[in-house]
């Protein structure tokens, strides 16, 4: 244990803990929310594609990437070769 003089010198630390947590959690809550958003987007995009083309679930990738001020939504779909029927 530190002596009585150290005790006077020591600054309280709980307020630092509080501020760090507030900043960290506001970030983490937002990114967890985005995970949910990506999952929802993926499901709905899958449903739209499946109406027209047979694709495997794992052939559709949806990514949301933060770059500076904006975010980029990337959708990557690997499709079976599309046959275009000649119109008679």
């Amino acid at each position: 244990m530190s002596g009585i003089f150290d005790l006077f010198k020591r600054r309280p630390t709980a307020n630092v803990a509080r501020e760090r947590l507030q900043i960290l959690l506001s970030h983490e809550r937002a990114s967890v929310g985005q995970e949910g958003l990506v999952a929802t987007l993926r499901e709905e995009i899958l449903a739209v594609i499946a109406k027209h083309i047979p694709v495997d679930r794992d052939q559709v990738q949806v990514k949301l990437e933060r770059s500076g001020e904006s975010s980029i939504l990337e959708i990557d779909v690997t499709m079976p070769p599309v046959r275009v029927r000649a119109v008679a």
């Binding site: 600054r11 309280p12 709980a14 509080r18 809550r29």
Partner: protein, 271 residues
């Protein structure tokens, strides 16, 4: 109507098992029919804290796999006849705890008891997820410390999205149980205060359990602290928490074990 409660936290070692035993016993002391369920497969400890480790014959996985009936696996407390324990398996593979199996066991326990208290394993993986899945009420055990608060925040997010209630679009009742609290250090500014943690996590407070040597003493002898030392500070805090859980309004205080200086100097036995 039975209530299923999960005692959860994300972080390990914050007091989930201690709290499950203390709250379970306190509910039973109030005349409720209670079962405490250990979900920590491979690291079961609730049996030890309850003092029932030598009477474990079957566990939840035996019940799920049809090797034992639920009534054969339940262990009746030696002190309270309306308190039972369903142990976790110490040896089986975690995957043997299937979600259909858990659903069936919980449904059966709902028929037999007023309160089903589920002691969650640490982490945010499958085990924690299974423990919370059927809960009506969640008790989020948090220490006044940065990593515990962060993990509790994660768990609150899971409770709101991954539980059966959340999936049905219903609300899950969430309560904060702040444990290992030291009011002197908090006042000195060296520990997060109750208000800080409440502010950050913003769920209602169920109780404040002070840091106390009585918790270790109770675990040494295998008795929930509310039974082993009912007038001790942590026991009074748990008993108050249980009254709130049952819907009573109880003033929020941090009970203290403080004895006078004279008593401390002369002959207070050490833990």
């Amino acid at each position: 109507m039975a209530k299923v409660v999960v005692v959860t936290s994300g972080k390990g070692g914050v007091g989930k098992t201690t709290s499950t035993a203390a709250l379970g016993a306190a509910l039973a002391q109030n005349g409720e029919r209670v079962v405490v369920v250990d979900f920590d497969v491979g690291l079961r400890n609730l049996d030890l804290i309850m003092g029932a480790e030598r009477r474990v014959v079957f566990d939840m996985i035996n019940v799920i796999q049809g090797d034992a009936k639920l009534t054969q696996a339940l262990i009746r407390d030696k002190r309270l006849e309306n308190l039972m324990l369903l142990p976790a398996s110490q040896t089986r593979d975690k995957d043997a705890l299937t979600s259909e199996g858990v659903a069936k066991v919980i449904a059966e326990l709902r028929e037999k008891f007023d309160w089903v208290l589920c002691d969650s394993p640490a982490g945010i993986e499958r085990g924690a997820s299974l423990a919370m899945h059927h809960a009506d009420i969640a008790i989020v055990v948090t220490n006044p410390e940065v990593s515990s608060v962060r993990d509790s925040d994660r768990i609150i997010g899971m409770l709101d999205s991954k539980t059966e209630r959340a999936e049905r679009g219903e609300r899950i009742e969430k309560h904060l149980l702040l444990t290992r609290y030291d009011p002197v250090r908090a006042e000195r500014g060296d520990m997060l205060k109750v208000e800080d943690v409440l502010d950050i996590l913003s769920i209602p407070l169920l109780g404040i359990i002070p840091e106390s040597q009585e918790v270790l003493r109770a675990s040494n002898v295998g008795s929930p602290v509310t039974l082993n030392a009912p007038i001790s500070a942590p026991a009074r805090a748990y008993l108050d928490a249980v009254r709130r859980l049952r819907g009573e309004t109880v003033d929020m205080t941090v009970p203290s074990d403080k004895v006078g200086l004279v008593a401390r100097l002369f002959g207070r036995r050490a833990a």
